[in-house]
Symmetry: C2
Subunit: 406 residues, 2 copies
């Protein structure tokens, strides 16, 4: 019998030790500090939350459903809500999907975790965009796997690099965000979607298509999901976080027939089913309100916020900084001249009471040091201007201390 | 290039293939069929759901919190709710726990899944009671592990068998339900709790203590959680499913300091945070209502339901059937004479429009064939009597067809 004190260390799983911490979640504390202007979070603008409509919808749900709303319910999710989602795809893309192929999840974060449960064994390899969504990196890292990133070109993922990387590792799937990608803001062109679907078909590689910003477009609607070009090989996720509210933690997965029973078991094992009150609340909100007008309001507002942010960033950030100009979503990606290390710069920024997410956060191999992600949805124009001025001040101090000249 | 059609089979994880299906979830469809009397589910009695108080609490939450209720929030959960839980432990057991050691989960099912994420690698071994909770078997099976079951004696888990089985495999943890265990209804005696804590301390083995029925006692309060006897080695889970409503999917985990950061990352990776509206709703309900009176109502009702069910079962089930007589929770465990195979009997029962869960469901190795779990919370006395008469009829048909004489 060993007499050393008890420690959990030797009991922890390889997966648990492999889970990456989320820079974003960690800085939420800083971002929430009084006086800080945050370009860091991925928070929707709370002024656009339909608070009073939700209050009415909730009351309706409790008055209509009563007891049944509070009981255990099916693992797949509230059928009328799944029917609404299916109807929305038909309305938007003319594609018929069966509500039975939709599973309701706790936000699309859980969809990513369930995809991990379905496909990933320790040591497996997956492919994702470079840069990629930090929540996905975190969800998949919990399966103790290897991630390979594929460069994003201006019109989407690089097919050339995809072919090359796919030869090197034997990937379980490709994960990507074709619309207003987080963090880059890049969208796949129609041509790239077709090319990708064709390549995936030939390679017989599954695709996890993450689509949380689909409804948050600015000047034109987005292209058809790759999942509709290759339904038997793809999982498409969606979310009400940006359409309605992220605090309600409700999203969904659209999966091929072959995965349905596995996915249902994985959801049962994870948490039995998604919260019932909120599923019914969302459905009531969707049918009792003019959703398109609600979304148009968000689109117009975010579009204007993007324009303001981009104008200010062009004005205050160093010359030779390159920007993406997204037509939807919540983020601009800025790549500073090579002299700048944004992981260092963010420390200066925090002391000037402004914060962004350093590019490195979105890479699995330490790249991205010259880039930053700028969120444009959660600051007012005045805060944006103040924040950009502070960021300029941080840049000046950084240049002075680091003896950088641009 | 292989020209066979695409199939997901070769992409699925070992874990995904290992997830057991839940007999319970599968029979919910049958249990929900019109005319069926169900002793199968683990459903709380919906007549005891505080519908109108929840409706009021929800409206209050939306009126007080508004926008902030709908925004992303911290992964650990709503602080006032965690403080309430800590305060409740102090009130009940005189034990001080820090709200910072509590994480809010989507029901205790997610707590089990997160425990799996923390500890389990493929091929690991864990110990659990025999029989054990099917949701736990399902959650842990998703980690592609080996489960060893330890007999339950009338006063709790067999320490002798625990010692023996622990020598044979090298377990990552013991999982157990010391209060009104699901499915057996058995509770650990005070002496057994002390013995178990002492043995776990000597063995340096972590204990996952699942405690969803703790507040649903009948004649006397339950003993101290083993986790309070050995806090540095235990995870204690709790749930509002039986106290308030299961449809709200809210539970919690109490963990030692050493696990906090790992658990927080695991929760982030799984779904960022638990639904905000509902966490605030629960808190409002708890502080604006007399919780103890609400719980006393449940206790009195379930106690009476248990007495009725036990009386009827003794009357209608075969002689030599043995029953547990739980002092809380939701289930009676009946062990029929050896001539009966409950996995076969349930088919006769379904054709007579009554359903129970066959004992085998709660065993990992095919044992339990003579037992059944009877839920007493979700049927009225009249339904119970009708159901038991139908079950007797099913037993008669079974005996006739199987040429069983008792």
């Amino acid at each position: 019998m060993n007499s050393s004190p008890f420690t959990f260390e030797s009991f922890l799983s390889g997966s648990c030790k492999a889970i990456r911490s989320s820079f974003l979640r960690e800085i939420l504390d800083i971002a929430g500090m009084s006086g800080i202007i945050s370009f860091a979070g991925g928070l929707p603008n709370p002024d656009l939350f339909p608070v009073s409509q939700i209050r009415i919808a909730l009351d309706q749900v409790m008055s209509d459903g009563g007891k049944s709303t509070l009981q255990y319910s099916g693992s797949q999710g509230y059928l009328p809500l799944r029917e609404w989602i299916a109807g929305r795809y038909y309305k938007r893309f003319g594609i018929k999907v069966a509500p039975d192929n939709i599973l309701i999840t706790n936000g699309s974060q859980q969809a990513l975790d369930l995809a991990g449960k379905l496909f990933l064994d320790p040591g497996d390899c997956i492919l994702m965009e470079k840069p990629s969504y930090i929540g996905a990196i975190q969800a998949f890292s919990a399966y103790d796997i290897k991630m390979e990133q594929i460069s994003l070109e201006h019109d989407g993922i690089s097919i050339t690099e995809l072919k090359e990387k796919c030869r090197r590792c034997n990937p379980k799937f490709l994960y990507g965000i074709p619309n207003y990608q987080n963090p880059s803001g890049i969208s796949y062109s129609e041509g790239k979607r077709l090319l990708l679907a064709e390549w995936l078909r030939t390679k017989k590689l599954p695709f996890i298509e993450d689509d949380p910003y689909s409804e948050i477009y600015f000047t034109k609607t987005n292209g058809i999901p790759v999942s509709f070009l290759l339904p038997e090989q793809c999982i498409l996720t969606g979310s009400f976080s940006k359409m309605i509210s992220p605090g309600i933690r409700t999203g969904w997965m659209l999966v091929p027939d072959k995965l349905k029973s596995y996915l249902l078991k994985a959801k049962q094992a994870a948490d039995l089913h998604t919260n019932n009150i909120v599923q019914q609340l969302i459905y009531r909100f969707l049918v009792d309100n003019d959703v398109d007008m609600h979304l148009d309001r968000i689109r117009i507002h975010y579009h204007q916020q993007k324009e303001t942010m981009l104008m200010l960033a062009r004005h205050f950030l160093p010359q030779r900084t390159r920007f993406t100009n997204p037509d939807g979503g919540m983020f601009i990606w800025a790549t500073l001249p090579d002299e700048f290390d944004t992981t260092e710069l963010v420390k200066y920024a925090i002391s000037e009471k402004v914060i962004f997410v350093p590019g490195k956060t979105f890479y699995v191999n330490g790249e991205g040091n010259h880039s930053m992600r700028l969120n444009f949805t959660s600051s007012s124009p005045d805060e944006m201007e103040d924040g950009m001025k502070r960021l300029r001040q941080a840049i000046n101090l950084y240049m002075e201390h680091m003896k950088v000249k641009v």
